[in-house]
C-alpha cells in the first residue's frame, strides 16, 4: 500500500496561506506540506484560480491618466528579465547521523549548519523565527515521549520522516497536526525515529510534575 497523507490543513487555512495573510512561519509548514501532498497542491491551484477571478472582477480604482501612463512607460522601458522556473526537488540533509530527504520549501532555511539541542530522546534545531513565532526541526528517537503540554498559541507539526503517535492518532510522512490552546497532547514515537517540522506561534506550556521545570528552558528547547 502506498503511503497517502491523511491529515491536511483545512481549506480555510489554505485560503489564508494563498492570500499570504497567514504568519510567514506558519506558511512554511503549509508550503512544506504542499511539497508532500498532491491533494492539497490541487486545492491550492483551485483557490488561486478563484482569487484570480475575484481580482479580475474587482471594480477599478482610479488614478489619473498621467499616473497610469507614466507607470506604463516606465515598465515597458525595462528589459526582459532572465526568468527561470525554479526546481522543486526534495533534497537530502544530514540529520543525526542519517541522511533524510526533506521538502524543497525548507531548503532556504537549511543553508547554515544546524545547531542541535539534545534533551533525552529529543533533539531540536531552530530554523527561523523570532518572538512569538518559531520554526524548528524536531528529531525524536524511537520509544520517546515529548512531555505532555498545551500551547498558548497554535502548534503545527509536520511529519517529515517516520511516525508519531498521540492521543488522537498516528501520523506519517506529510501529515500535518494542528494543535491549539484547547489541546493537551503527549506525542510519542514507537519503533522508529521521527523527524518533524514544528512551528509554534507562542511558547509551549508543559503541564506535568517535573517537566514543569522545563518551562523556563523551553525557549531554548523549541
Amino acid at each position: 500500500m502506498i503511503h497517502a497523507v491523511k491529515y491536511h490543513p483545512s481549506v480555510e487555512l489554505l485560503e489564508q496561506y494563498i492570500e499570504a495573510s497567514l504568519a510567514p512561519e506558519l506558511s512554511v509548514a503549509i508550503a512544506a506540506h504542499l511539497d508532500l501532498c498532491p491533494h492539497c497542491q490541487r486545492i491550492k491551484m483551485d483557490l488561486e484560480a478563484e482569487a484570480g477571478v475575484a481580482l479580475a472582477a474587482l471594480p477599478q480604482a482610479q488614478s489619473t491618466e498621467t499616473d497610469w501612463q507614466q507607470m506604463l512607460d516606465f515598465i515597458t522601458a525595462q528589459p526582459e528579465a532572465a526568468a527561470q522556473q525554479k526546481q522543486r526537488q526534495p533534497f537530502a540533509v544530514q540529520i543525526q547521523n542519517s541522511e533524510i530527504l526533506v521538502p524543497a520549501s525548507l531548503r532556504p532555511l537549511l543553508k547554515d549548519k544546524l545547531k542541535w539541542l539534545n534533551l533525552g530522546g529529543i533533539s531540536t534545531a531552530k530554523l527561523a523565527g523570532e518572538d512569538q513565532h518559531n520554526v524548528s526541526l524536531l528529531y525524536i528517537r524511537k520509544d520517546s515521549e515529548v512531555p505532555q503540554h498545551t500551547h498558548l498559541g497554535v502548534e503545527i507539526t509536520l511529519v517529515l520522516k517516520g511516525k508519531i503517535y498521540d492521543e488522537s492518532g498516528c501520523y506519517g510522512e506529510g501529515d500535518l497536526l494542528i494543535n491549539t490552546a484547547d489541546h493537551t497532547h503527549t506525542p510519542r514515537t514507537m519503533s522508529e525515529d521521527c523527524l518533524c517540522l514544528s512551528v509554534l506561534t507562542a511558547p509551549l506550556k508543559f503541564k506535568k510534575g517535573l517537566t514543569r521545570l522545563l518551562n523556563p528552558l523551553q525557549h531554548l528547547f523549541y
Binding site: 497517502a4 494563498i18 484570480g52 481580482l55 480604482a61 507607470m71 528589459p79 531548503r107
Partner: protein, 216 residues
C-alpha cells in the same frame, strides 16, 4: 480603460498574424484574450498587448492593493511591481496551468508579501518565491492525486459511496471503478464533459466531508 474596439483592433493585428503562422487559432473576444496577450508579450515584447493588459489589470490591482494595505502609496507600489513582473517575466506564464488572472494574482500576492517583510525589516530567509511555489511540483512516485483519490475510495470511503446522489455515483463508478476517461463517460451518458467533471468534484467533496476529521 479597455473597450471592445481596442480588443478588436488588436485581434486584427498581431493575433491574426500569428494565427497565419499556425501557432494559434484565435477568435476575437474569446475568453482567453489575456492568456494570448501574455503569450505575445513573452514572444514579441508586444507593447500593444501589454498596454491593454495593463489597462485592464492595473486599476483592479490598485483596488486589491488599497484593500490589503489601506493606503494609496503602497497600493501603487504593489501595482507597479506586479505589472513590472508581468512585463519582464511573461515567459514564465504557462497557460496550461491556469488563467492569466491566476498568474497575476499570485505575483501580486508575492509582491505584497515581500513588501510587508521588508517593512518589518526581517532579515531572515523567508521569501515569497520560496513560500509560494508557482510551478509544477515533481511527480511523486505512487502518490499522484489520482492514486490518492483511489486510495481514499478504497480504504475510507466505500461505506459512504452508496449514499451519493445517483447521478454523481454513476459518474464516479464509471471513472473510478471502470476506469473510463471523462470523455468516455461524457459520451456514454450524453452529458457535457464539464458536467462529468463537476459531478466528480461534487462527489469527492461529499465523500471528503463524510470522512472529515474533526481536526481539519
Amino acid at each position: 480603460m479597455l473597450d471592445s474596439t481596442s480588443v478588436q483592433r488588436h485581434d486584427d493585428g498581431n493575433y491574426q498574424r500569428l494565427s497565419i503562422q499556425g501557432s494559434m487559432s484565435v477568435q476575437p473576444q474569446d475568453n482567453t484574450q489575456w492568456e494570448q496577450a501574455l503569450t505575445f508579450i513573452a514572444v514579441d515584447r508586444d507593447k500593444q498587448a501589454y498596454s491593454q493588459l495593463f489597462s485592464y489589470f492595473a486599476p483592479r490591482l490598485k483596488a486589491f492593493g488599497l484593500k490589503m494595505f489601506g493606503n494609496e502609496q503602497q497600493a501603487m507600489e504593489m501595482v507597479q511591481d506586479t505589472m513590472l513582473n508581468v512585463w519582464q517575466k511573461a515567459r514564465l506564464f504557462d497557460a496550461s496551468r491556469g488563467c492569466a488572472s491566476t498568474w497575476i494574482f499570485t505575483i501580486a500576492r508575492n509582491v505584497r508579501f515581500d513588501m510587508l517583510r521588508k517593512k518589518q525589516s526581517r532579515k531572515d530567509e523567508l521569501s515569497a518565491d520560496d513560500l509560494f511555489f508557482d510551478g509544477d511540483y515533481p511527480e511523486q512516485e505512487g502518490t499522484d492525486s489520482n492514486e490518492w483519490d483511489l486510495w481514499l475510495l478504497a480504504e475510507k470511503v466505500a461505506p459512504h459511496f452508496a449514499k451519493l446522489p445517483p447521478a454523481q455515483r454513476d459518474v464516479m463508478e464509471k471513472v473510478y471503478l471502470e476506469e473510463k476517461s471523462h470523455q468516455e463517460v461524457s459520451d456514454e451518458l450524453s452529458i457535457p464533459l464539464g458536467t462529468v467533471k463537476s459531478r466528480i468534484r461534487l462527489a469527492l467533496d461529499r465523500l471528503r466531508e463524510a470522512i472529515d476529521d474533526p481536526r481539519s
